[in-house]
């Protein structure tokens, strides 16, 4: 009996801490990576490139939301705040003082982190729905501030000044979407790598623990409030990068659009559809919803403006009925368990 136990313990120690994903998953990943790298050559025209840039961007934004909701269990309805801060931080210093948007991107991350602390410290003590309502209202308030703030263009917004002297320094590529595409791809890759790392770190484990059982987490030495704020900060910084990039991509900042609740809701829908709390769920959600809304806009024109929202509604209802944990739950769970059982 005792030696049996000792042997099992020895065996268990030799198991991989993180089971290697099955071969078909690795194959699928490699094929996907190759496809993404070659995408601008497979689809040389502008529109499919534009759609994919948005997919990548929203994949990061949804992932950022997923860090707060999926990992730490707090539903934020104000994530557009960080998106807007990122866009303005990269553009205002550029428009006013000619400072490269790269610096602005860093400023945006710092400001978003500060905003996340300022919002998170008082609100993350609220449980569940109250946090959601608080973030929704704060989001709307921030939008109103930017719509009234003359220095940053108030309601009419800001244009990014055109500068053709140094495309990489000023992040402006006139005439081709390909550099934008690869930048979006790099941002998405960095964002997903970061979250992949996070999920396997001490912090990631602690967040998942407090998401499921805050009391048990506290009994194991986890400072629940502090960790929630930390997740909110990381998330806000990710969202800010996406906002900085988006501003330079569309070249115009409209507070109505940048701080809109639509953005906060979109990232929620994508994550829930794909699988909240999973690594790839937000990307799957973005890859389904963005093309749908972009193409429905073309097919139906102005008359079909809200068709995509109807389809979203139906999709979300279906997911909630049959796969409440999202599309990824179909097989993420299976791969994790199969990997673990190979002993």
């Amino acid at each position: 009996m005792a030696s049996d136990h000792a042997r099992m313990l020895e065996l268990a120690r030799f198991e991989r801490l993180w089971p290697r994903p099955p071969l078909w998953v690795m194959g699928l990943g490699a094929a996907m990576a190759a496809f993404l790298l070659a995408y601008p050559f497979i689809f040389p025209s502008q529109f499919p490139q534009h759609v994919m840039i948005l997919v990548l961007l929203y994949a990061v934004m949804a992932q950022s939301w997923n860090v707060v909701a999926g990992l730490s269990g707090q539903i934020s309805l104000g994530h557009a705040i960080f998106f807007g801060i990122g866009a303005y931080a990269a553009t205002v210093p550029f428009a006013k003082y000619g400072i490269t948007p790269w610096i602005g991107l860093l400023i945006g991350m710092v400001l978003s982190a500060l905003a996340a602390v300022a919002i998170g410290v008082p609100t993350l003590r609220l449980r569940g729905h109250y946090f959601a309502i608080a973030t929704l209202l704060i989001g709307t308030s921030v939008q109103i501030v930017f719509q009234r703030w003359d220095w940053v263009g108030a309601a009419s917004g800001l244009y990014v000044p055109i500068n053709r002297t140094s495309p990489w320094l000023y992040l402006q590529f006139h005439g081709s979407k390909v550099p934008y595409y690869y930048m979006a791809l790099a941002i998405a890759a960095a964002g997903y790598l970061l979250v992949w790392k996070l999920r396997r770190s001490r912090l990631g484990f602690r967040l998942q623990a407090l998401r499921d059982e805050p009391d048990a987490a506290a009994s194991l030495g986890i400072g629940v409030a502090r960790h929630k704020v930390l997740a909110f900060v990381i998330s806000g910084m990710m969202m800010s990068v996406a906002g900085s990039f988006y501003g330079q991509y569309v070249l115009v900042l409209d507070p109505e659009r940048l701080f809109s609740t639509d953005i906060s809701i979109m990232v929620l829908l994508m994550t829930v559809l794909g699988g909240s709390g999973t690594l790839w769920g937000p990307a799957v959600g973005a890859a389904i919803l963005i093309p749908m809304s972009e193409y429905s806009r073309i097919w139906f024109g102005g008359t079909g403006r809200t068709i995509d929202l109807i389809v979203y509604g139906i999709l979300i209802t279906l997911v909630c009925m049959w796969r409440p944990h999202g599309i990824m739950s179909l097989f993420e769970e299976r791969t994790r368990r199969r990997g673990g059982k190979r002993t």
Binding site: A12, R13, F205, A209, E213
Partner: protein, 242 residues
């Protein structure tokens, strides 16, 4: 013997109900102290007060001579106080090993070290076989072992165990009791809440008996067993008839 936990006059009221009234007891290092009492006697509330999951209305708690009253629960845990919950709280979407890793991470930031410590704790509670299952797939008895392993992975000085044998299949009780005794041998100080009197009398060095939120006896098992107040509380009707 050195004093590890010193509880002085803990009081907690919920509206008109006094769940704990002026409870005083102490625990020496290396000792097992059992807490007994009928349902609603205030046993679990006492654990919540010691670990500050609920704020105390009056009274003070000392760990190793330092006051911990009102400290945040995670700070108290970090000082080496582990606890289990009467209403079990495993992390359902993590695997068994991952659950225990969370406990081990209280002492180390190295995932590999935490994993190895988690496996040792799982081996100790005899749950290694289930290590790659999700916590939600375990039976009640297995979940109790899981919570114990999770707390032990923190390498605590003191563990507060809330009804480890409650709601568990009768056949697994002896195994759980052996675990508790083995823990004591390893130098962990234990405070345990139990309904099972036989178990309590056998394993405890001292017993604290509560009734309706009050301390009615505190002492060695044989003293407590013969204490008139305890006999009255447990066998009140019979005693009256006699």
């Amino acid at each position: 013997m050195t004093l590890l936990l010193d509880v002085k006059g803990l009081t907690k009221r919920f509206g008109g109900l006094t769940a704990n009234a002026d409870i005083t007891f102490d625990v020496n290092a290396g000792e097992i102290v059992g807490i007994i009492g009928p349902n609603g006697a205030g046993k679990s509330t006492l654990f919540d007060l010691i670990t500050n999951f609920q704020p105390v209305d009056a009274g003070r708690v000392f760990l190793d001579g330092h006051e911990i009253t009102g400290k945040r629960p995670d700070h108290i845990a970090a000082l080496g106080v582990a606890r289990t919950f009467q209403k079990l709280k495993p992390f359902p979407d993590l695997t068994v090993t991952e659950n225990v890793i969370v406990g081990a991470l209280a002492r180390t930031a190295d995932m590999k070290v935490a994993r190895d410590q988690a496996l040792e704790a799982l081996a100790f509670v005899d749950l290694l076989e289930k290590r790659n299952h999700f916590a939600r797939e375990l039976s009640t008895g297995q979940r109790k072992r899981l919570e114990l392993a999770r707390g032990l992975a923190m390498k605590p000085r003191l563990i507060l165990m809330d009804e480890v044998t409650g709601g568990v299949d009768q056949r697994t009780i002896p195994g759980l009791v052996d675990l508790v005794l083995e823990l004591k041998r390893r130098g962990v100080t234990i405070v345990t809440i139990e309904h099972n009197m036989q178990v309590m009398m056998r394993i405890s060095d001292r017993i604290l008996a509560l009734y309706a939120g009050r301390r009615i006896a505190f002492g060695r098992p044989e003293e407590v067993r013969q204490d008139p107040a305890v006999v009255d509380a447990y066998l009140g009707a019979t005693a009256d008839a006699a």
